[in-house]
């Protein structure tokens, strides 16, 4: 093999500077979508190239990187992104939420509270929360500029009219810093309250759509709702079968081909940490979810 021809963290310094400028602007205007010149990355778009570019731009040699996909450090996607940065930046990687300085995520926010100095990088497929009802980009931009967000409530109204309740369960729209309405990426709405007044910096990267947005630490993030249909979190009403946690977001795992199921924490680090502290669930002896998946 030849010696690698790429720069630290793959992207060249010019590109990283351009992305950092977009990030700084995004931090200065919480929730506002900043356009940036998204680059081709050596992975397909569905793999979170927006998040990867943001991570590449902020990573320093002393950083400790964690990558999660649906709460798990061990999916193919999470492993390949972690390996990508271990190889191109030589940074330390971890599965521990507490030890990580940068956490790139798809679909979840870790259960444990994040701390000051950490950065959470979200991979975003569709950054525009108004796109569902307004396909014209010129019009959605004007709506953001003028703070005209009635359309967001039209979407929630349609949910209630159709299903009797706000059925939006992922990518549930929020208002950031009492100004911009933002799509929190396809995280479950269970995670929305964790974005509010979070001690960590939250950065969002959409590669295909070429947008970066941000929530600076300790910024207000409010989920949209109606007075008579207030925002509610949702989780399966069960304790984790492995660690007994009654407050974590659960995945439903099929355990055999006869359709047996169990509920386990989606955040594997949280679950394993609890187990190592002696917490037990009803199925503690059963195989852990990666094995069940496999």
């Amino acid at each position: 093999m030849n010696a690698p021809t790429y720069n630290f963290a793959y992207l060249d310094e010019q590109t990283k500077r351009m992305i950092r400028r977009a990030i700084l602007k995004a931090i200065a205007i919480p929730g506002y979508q900043v356009p940036f010149a998204s680059r081709e990355m050596p992975m397909p778009y569905g793999w979170g190239t927006g998040g990867v570019q943001v991570t590449a731009a902020i990573l320093g040699r002393d950083d400790v990187l964690k990558v999660i996909d649906q709460g798990s450090d061990d999916t193919t996607n999470a492993i390949s992104i972690r390996k990508f940065f271990a190889k191109t930046a030589g940074v330390a990687t971890t599965t521990s939420t507490t030890d990580a300085t940068v956490i790139q995520t798809r679909h979840r926010i870790p259960e444990g509270a994040l701390h000051a100095g950490q950065v959470l990088v979200y991979q975003v497929p569709i950054p525009e929360p108004l796109r569902f009802l307004e396909p014209r980009e010129t019009e959605t931009r004007r709506m953001h500029a003028l703070g005209e967000y009635g359309l967001m409530h039209v979407k929630l109204y349609e949910d209630i009219a159709r299903f009797g309740h706000i059925a939006t369960a992922y990518a549930y729209p929020v208002k950031v810093n009492a100004r911009y309405v933002m799509d929190p990426s396809p995280t479950p709405k269970f995670d929305n309250p964790k974005m509010d007044n979070c001690a960590a910096l939250q950065l969002f990267g959409a590669g295909r759509e070429k947008r970066i947005y941000a929530i600076p630490p300790h910024t207000s993030v409010v989920s949209l709702d109606f007075e008579d249909h207030p925002f509610t979190r949702y989780r399966f009403d069960a304790p984790c079968a492995l660690c007994g946690a009654g407050d974590s977001y659960l995945d439903e795992i099929v355990t055999d081909d006869k359709g047996s199921r169990m509920f386990v924490c989606s955040d594997t680090d949280y679950c394993e940490t609890r187990q190592s502290q002696g917490h037990r669930g009803s199925e503690s002896a059963a195989p852990h979810k990666e094995r069940a998946h496999g």
Partner: protein, 270 residues
């Protein structure tokens, strides 16, 4: 003048104009689509703009509703606080706010004025949500009572307008506009493209709503029957100019201008 005569027939605070146009014009290159139009519209007054196709009616309506920037002249509107404002001096946010609160705009093609994929209830409720209504039950109740007022079965409240007939779509568009109780509604050929019997029902409904709500309206139509049924006053346009104006019955029964005489006798194609 017809304006002052009209004003005398109206009561309350209607002695001051709601909207005024002065020397209004629009050119596209060498073509003057609309030129030197001046008039005043009073609260509760319905003005019809008639004329053959291409005479500049739609252009004028878009100028009056600030959707087009005039090449000459200006439009002023009396805001809800009673202050007369030049529309060109309004900020974009103010103009858009005006457009979805104190004004209505009924398009000939309902697909232009409705969200075809969204339920009728949400179509009517959208303006309320845009001005900060945040109680689903109240939004829905209000939408429902507006569907009743425009004679749409409230059992259809959750259906999208793409499942509605042409006449229902047009009535839904009207409900969607009136829900914020605007003082002025612009309509461009509101009955165009509908069957004659459907037109008659729609006209009847519009006439009742306009008088119940004391709405002012500016209605563009090439159909003189529409003008006769709805409007207090007409302006006849030809080649971008207003060539005759007056009380509707006077102008239509006893036109001064030869062109209007032709128009009224249906010799000119509409």
């Amino acid at each position: 003048m017809a304006e002052t005569k009209m004003a005398e027939t109206l009561n309350g605070d209607s002695d001051q104009p709601l909207l005024t146009a002065e020397g209004l014009g629009k050119s596209y290159g060498h073509l003057m689509a609309c030129r030197d139009v001046s008039f005043a519209l009073y609260p509760g007054e319905v003005l019809a703009i008639v004329g053959e196709s291409g005479s500049g009616k739609s252009t004028l309506l878009q100028l009056l509703s600030a959707q087009l920037t005039p090449s000459a002249g200006s439009v002023s509107y009396r805001m809800r606080d009673g202050v007369m404002r030049d529309l060109a001096a309004l900020g974009e946010a103010e103009r858009r706010f005006l457009f979805r609160t104190d004004w209505g705009y009924v398009h000939q093609d309902p697909a232009m004025g409705l969200r075809m994929a969204v339920s009728a209830g949400a179509n009517v409720g959208e303006r309320l949500m845009a001005v900060g209504w945040n109680h689903y039950g109240r939004i829905r109740d209000t939408a429902s009572s507006w569907l009743e007022r425009v004679e749409i079965d409230t059992g259809r409240i959750d259906d999208a307008p793409r499942t509605y007939s042409g006449g229902m779509r047009q009535r839904l568009q009207i409900a969607r506009n009136l829900v914020t109780e605007p003082r002025l509604v612009f309509m461009d050929e509101p009955t165009g493209g509908l069957d004659v019997s459907v037109q008659a029902r729609l006209l009847d409904l519009m006439r009742n709503l306009v008088s119940e709500l004391g709405l002012a309206a500016i209605v563009v139509t090439h159909d003189l029957a529409v003008a006769r049924l709805l409007s207090h006053r007409v302006m006849v346009m030809k080649g971008g100019r207003v060539i005759e104006t007056g009380l509707t019955d006077q102008v239509l029964d006893d036109p001064c201008e030869p062109y209007t005489q032709l128009l009224v006798s249906s010799i000119l194609p509409a």
